[in-house]
């Protein structure tokens, strides 16, 4: 097992005919992801990368029954694309797009509640269940199937962590990028709950960063649920200056809120093993698992 996607998951690509989407859809196909259709308004009826293209998500859903959609559209069209997918009955939406206005995301999240759909991202590399399905833009070859779940707010730092785990002989059940924006879909605690009930997952690595309260929420959840699996966390940004946005729209210490220290303390209180050297994520996970 894995969480969210597996080898059978049928995937739609919104914005398929664009340059970036084309590149990454090709890579996903090579990885073995079951892409079934694409959507680009005005290009319905075409075939792109061997996939049928539709004008609307509704048409694509009717014809090809995708369960998951991955979105590659320009930032100002991002929220609409999320809403369109939800309205068409897609239950899991992965939005890669970076730079969606925050008010648009508030609107999109309200919309999702109405349709009971889940969102990953935006501003995420996506997710991957190694050896089964890659619904994202991460380099597939660094992953191995295995028993460590990963949840991260970052892109390349996740690749770094995956690389370390793989080098330490540890594969991954599913690696999920939840996105670097201030308002995102599924958060740490919701994914921790999915990993809790996933049989394949034996440990979870959480990669947080400055800004917001997602790590604190995760800590509260872990405490309340007496989480049965070991959790490790690295929180980036101990050296971050306050009031500065560090690359990700959501990575900012504002009004004294959202510092790495605060997050680390809360996670530690909740029994999470804190990694203070980001080059030792793989090694410490291996030690933790072998010690059990």
């Amino acid at each position: 097992m894995s969480i969210l996607v597996d080898r059978n998951t049928r995937v739609l690509v919104q914005g398929l005919t664009g340059k970036e989407a084309t590149f990454h859809a090709q890579k996903m196909l090579e990885y073995g992801t079951r892409l079934v259709a694409g959507v680009t308004p005005g290009k319905g009826g075409q075939v792109h990368l061997g996939l049928p293209v539709f004008n609307t998500v509704e048409e694509a859903v009717r014809a090809e029954e995708p369960e998951v959609s991955i979105i590659f559209v320009p930032p100002l069209a991002g929220a609409e694309a999320i809403m369109e997918a939800a309205a068409a009955g897609i239950k899991l939406i992965i939005c890669i797009t970076e730079g969606i206005p925050v008010l648009d995301m508030l609107r999109a999240k309200n919309w999702l509640k109405r349709y009971g759909a889940s969102l990953i991202g935006p501003n995420t590399p996506g997710l991957i269940s190694p050896g089964q399905s890659k619904v994202g833009i991460m380099p597939g070859h660094i992953h191995r199937p295995g028993s460590v779940g990963i949840i991260s707010r970052s892109g390349t730092l996740t690749y770094e962590a995956v690389h370390q785990l793989t080098a330490a002989g540890l594969g991954q059940s599913t690696a999920v990028g939840i996105g670097g924006d201030p308002v995102v879909g599924l958060k740490f605690f919701e994914l921790l709950e999915m990993f809790r009930v996933d049989e394949q997952t034996r440990a979870v690595v959480l990669i947080g960063e400055i800004g917001g309260k997602a790590e604190e929420e995760a800590a509260a959840y872990l405490k309340a649920s007496s989480y049965p699996k070991p959790v490790l966390a690295y929180v980036a940004g101990l050296t971050a200056p306050p009031g500065k946005r560090l690359g990700h729209a959501g990575a900012i210490i504002e009004g004294g809120q959202g510092s790495a220290r605060e997050k680390i303390d809360r996670l530690q209180e909740a029994g999470v093993k804190i990694v203070d050297n980001p080059a030792r994520i793989g090694q410490m996970t291996a030690e933790l698992l072998s010690g059990r």
Binding site: P75, L76, G99, I100, P101, V102, L103, L106, R107, K109, N110, P125, I137, P139, I142, S152, R153, S154, G155, T156, L157, T158, Y159, E160, H163, G180, P182, V183, I207, E209, I210, G211, G212, K213, E217, Y234, A236, G237, L238, T239, A240, P241, P242, G243, K244, L246, G247, H248, A249, G250, A251, G255, G256, Q257, A260, D276, N277, P278, A279, R280
Partner: protein
Amino acid sequence: MLIHEFQAKNFLQRLGWKIPPAALAESAEEARRLALELGCPVMLKAQVLAGGRGKAGGILKATTPEEAERLASRLLGHRLVTAQTASQGLPVARLLVERAINLKKEYYCGLAVDRKNEALVAIVSRQGGLNIEELSASRPELIKKIFFNPDEGLKQFQARQLGYFLELPEDLIKEFVVRLKQLAGFFIEKDLKLLEINPLVWSEDDRLLAVDARMEFDDCSLARQPELTALRDESQENELEKEARKFGLNYIKMDGNIGCLVNGAGLAMATMDIIKHFGGQPANFLDIGGGVTEQAVSKAFELLLADSQVVTALINIFGGIVRCDLVARGVVATAGRLSLDRPVVVRLEGTNVTEGRKILEESGLPFTFARDFEQAARLAVELSRQPR
């Protein structure tokens, strides 16, 4: 994008808010003349894009036009360092000269995006002029928050709840409710992230006045709010940071001596952290991003080296979309042109790592290669300690 107090007040005035009589001065002479025209006492308020101006001496009171001139000359043309600026502070090119207000009470009124609740929030406080976060922690009973969403906006009854909480006189509550509701509409229409009126003043002559204001717009929305870009004051930005932005690079100057060049924001933060972990000091945050070109990498390396505090550079690349060979070519272009005079530690991993390494090796330039993330950090810290 933050805008200045005077710009924020222009918006407020257009929305019907009353503000104290004021005008901008760019010279001490002008400040004196405005003090005379407005009538003393006046407040001289440094227009810089950072909070904490009052405590830092950026807001001064003058009781005569002569004093206004003298005080203005102490602010204008200098740099103001506040708790929220970098150590070098921000340049003061303009003062807002404002008639001092006699007040009965002061309050706080703010609108913001609440990340945790994923909603917009309107916040008022019975005490103003203070830091709202500190006040929330120490005196939560003085604060009232109401959440609303951008589709529905702030409702009249919600604005009324906040107005009555402030215990203003009845006619000022009526005025506040109308203004706040409009303000929430403006917040949504213009894609703001934060709007504060602090203090909001009940004056001795029973008027409601916005005495200080702060507005931050969402950078992601500027493409659909083109009229806002004219409000950007580039003189308030660090030169290197400004230059970096033009090339789509995320660069933030820090106070250390190890320059970092990394792909990805998370890895860039982690690179600063690991340098600190091994006892070094990062000189900057620099994320070259995912869609970077060779020219932008070249520029990034140039910016990094342009910081004279940098004694060692650390290049940490985990190639995914970004290819190691592209980064290597960009780095070599700059290093060759500038006759590299400082040690550079390189750690490459991922897409096209072999090609990248080959380009660096064949350049004949003195790069130090690290086999992994940890070794790279250790080497950089070690080199940063050696006398030059």
